[in-house]
Subunit: 357 residues, 2 copies
DNA sequence: TTGTAAGCGTTATCAC
DNA sequence: GTGATAACGCTTACAA
């Protein structure tokens, strides 16, 4: 009864002042309403709105008019349920607010806009349980595909949750080569940075590393080590201190090195944040950058060029990775294939590692 | 036929090796499957899963077992469509990747976790059209409520899209007092910062302002102006240069002031990013911070404490705003009321504005 | 306590 | 071209 009333009302609400009054309990406009108002069937409305078939121009116009007049907005939920696809891709990121992952997300948003897909984000926070929950939530929303940015889930764990959905890995490699991945060669980036310091005349380079169970951190460590050994130097454990990618760990790292009396003329930090912390600790200790100690970071996050002195860093093409990921996912969704790609990071040299004269 | 086969298969798939083989075309497990396997009706399954009613313990166990065995994951879309609520709140943010808004988002995520609601993010990018699109997308997903972080949409424009949905404004005020808002007193923050500089002995303070059509920027400008006038100084237009909240505009701002020969001993920047740029330009010009020029920013973004020297800044409780927003939205969703609140930002004094001796 | 059946707002498969 | 009508997977009266 009330239902019938409201629906009828719906058909007229633009004109009826009374209807406006009960706006707060007004039901949403559906294609059924449009059908009634424009004198056609639901199916025809659907056809017009989706362009799925030829429709008589007059009816088409009537439908379009009604759609506009009633302010119809399709119910995405119902569309997805009925069609079996949600036109959305789930994005599992790690820590909204961390510069590198955010830049990838931005790229994804940009790359996806203009396509038929829209991203749904979930935050894994680098916690295994949270990543699983987040992934489950995405799958529960019936996303058509999943982009996993970083994280610590094995591909087996991912596939257990995502099942047959297309999956794309970003900023990480796939342990089983089961999924295509867009990654960056962290080892090479670290190698370049270290080599640059060596070529600038530094013989004793300290490394403040990242989380030891973190793939990127391991690769960066390897690159560092390779450069040192290739230069014919012996690898000294004492020059390496543990960090966790935070600025605070950069401070601690330098303090530890100093307290232990380790001598060094350069520092390579696992990421820029760590480099910021290191730089602060150095200045507190009265050491000048780059005159006394050179500093190089990794990520080239935006703030780095504004540090004093501007920070040399290994640039990861984060935004580009996101954009490529968007393209790749659209391809995968179109049943096409996509081959993994590995991008090469680029060393950006600024004053923090200026050659000493 | 094939459908029947697969469904039957579903009931056994854990045990059947053959079924595993056709995994890729396996349909998703539904409550119907669980019902069949555990010998009860759909409704009972729903009751058990949602705890909506008392169920015979044995049947309950059977259902739970089957759920686990089949790896059932509820279809959120169908749930929402059937129940009329999506258990999600739409979050319209501006520019994923900008520190202040990201921090609010993090707070929201944190505050919402543990409740029955999960956030869905959309990015308005400070563009009117994009904000509308994003809002429409959220409403189309039938979110139960909307949190609007910043942005340039008037409340009339918002309400046109959101209709009767509960709306909460964050980091902005409501033009019509139509919606509750969680905001920060930008005017007072700027006033404090400026007063601090004045009390430190600065008489000629430059302002690099934010976007002129941006509410926050206007308020910060007003606070600056009030402090200057209250100190009995005359307000000099020449000391104010336009910026746009970017680091680059900080560089430009200082360059402009210097080129125009404007004398100043302190700079108040519209936000930290601008302050970073200003600091770089100052050092390029051979001016020391804080000895020659003191610098204060706004936002206190994380990197600020690692600048050289560490940057004084007006801290906005961004994360807390997000958390409060989450609570508030849950209240609104529970039909409860929520009164707007305005938080007071706190000035954090660091070396960049150290008193000159 | 449990099952049956009627929606929720679409899309998609039929006949006509 | 177009209109019934059956899904889609779930919730929720309403009966039993």
């Amino acid at each position: 009864m009330i239902d019938r009333f409201i629906r009828q009302c719906n058909g007229l609400w633009i004109e009826s002042g009374f209807c406006r009054g009960i706006l707060h309990l007004m039901k949403k406009v559906t294609i059924q309403d449009i059908a009634r108002v424009s004198g056609v069937s639901k199916s025809t409305v659907s056809r017009v709105l989706n362009g799925t078939a030829q429709v008589n121009p007059e009816k088409k116009k009537a439908v379009l008019d009604a759609t506009k007049r009633l302010g119809f907005q399709p119910n995405v939920l119902a569309q997805s349920l009925a069609s079996g696809r949600s036109s959305s891709v789930g994005v599992l990121t790690q820590m909204i607010g961390s510069p590198f992952y955010d830049a990838i997300s931005q790229g994804l948003i940009a790359g996806l806009s203009g396509t038929n897909y829209s991203p749904i984000f979930a935050d894994g926070r680098w916690e295994k349980a949270e990543q699983k929950d987040a992934l489950n939530a995405l799958v529960g929303r019936r996303v058509d595909g999943v982009v996993v940015i970083g994280g610590t889930l094995s591909s087996a764990q991912v596939s257990k949750i995502t099942g047959e959905l297309p999956v794309l890995l970003v900023a990480r490699k796939c342990d089983l080569n089961q999924y295509p991945a867009i990654s960056v060669n962290n080892e090479f980036g670290a190698y370049q940075a270290t080599k640059h310091l060596l070529e600038s005349g530094h013989q004793r380079i300290a490394l403040i590393s990242g989380l030891s169970d973190h793939g990127d951190a391991k690769d960066r460590f390897k690159g560092f080590q390779r450069a040192v050994l290739e230069a014919g130097l012996s690898f000294e454990e004492r020059l390496v201190v543990d960090g966790d990618f935070s600025a605070e760990s950069g401070v601690k790292g330098i303090e530890t090195l100093l307290a232990q009396g380790v001598e060094f003329t350069a520092v390579f930090a696992a990421n820029d944040l760590t480099a910021y912390g290191a730089r602060l600790a150095l200045s507190r200790a009265g050491l000048r950058v780059p005159e006394d100690v050179a500093v190089v970071g990794f990520d080239d996050q935006m703030e780095s060029q504004y540090m004093t002195p501007p920070l040399s860093s290994v640039r990861q093409p984060a935004r580009e990775m996101g954009e490529r990921a968007a393209e790749a996912m659209v391809q995968l969704l179109g049943e096409a294939n996509f081959e993994s790609i590995e991008l090469v990071p680029e060393l950006v040299i600024r004053q923090s590692s200026e050659v000493r004269r």
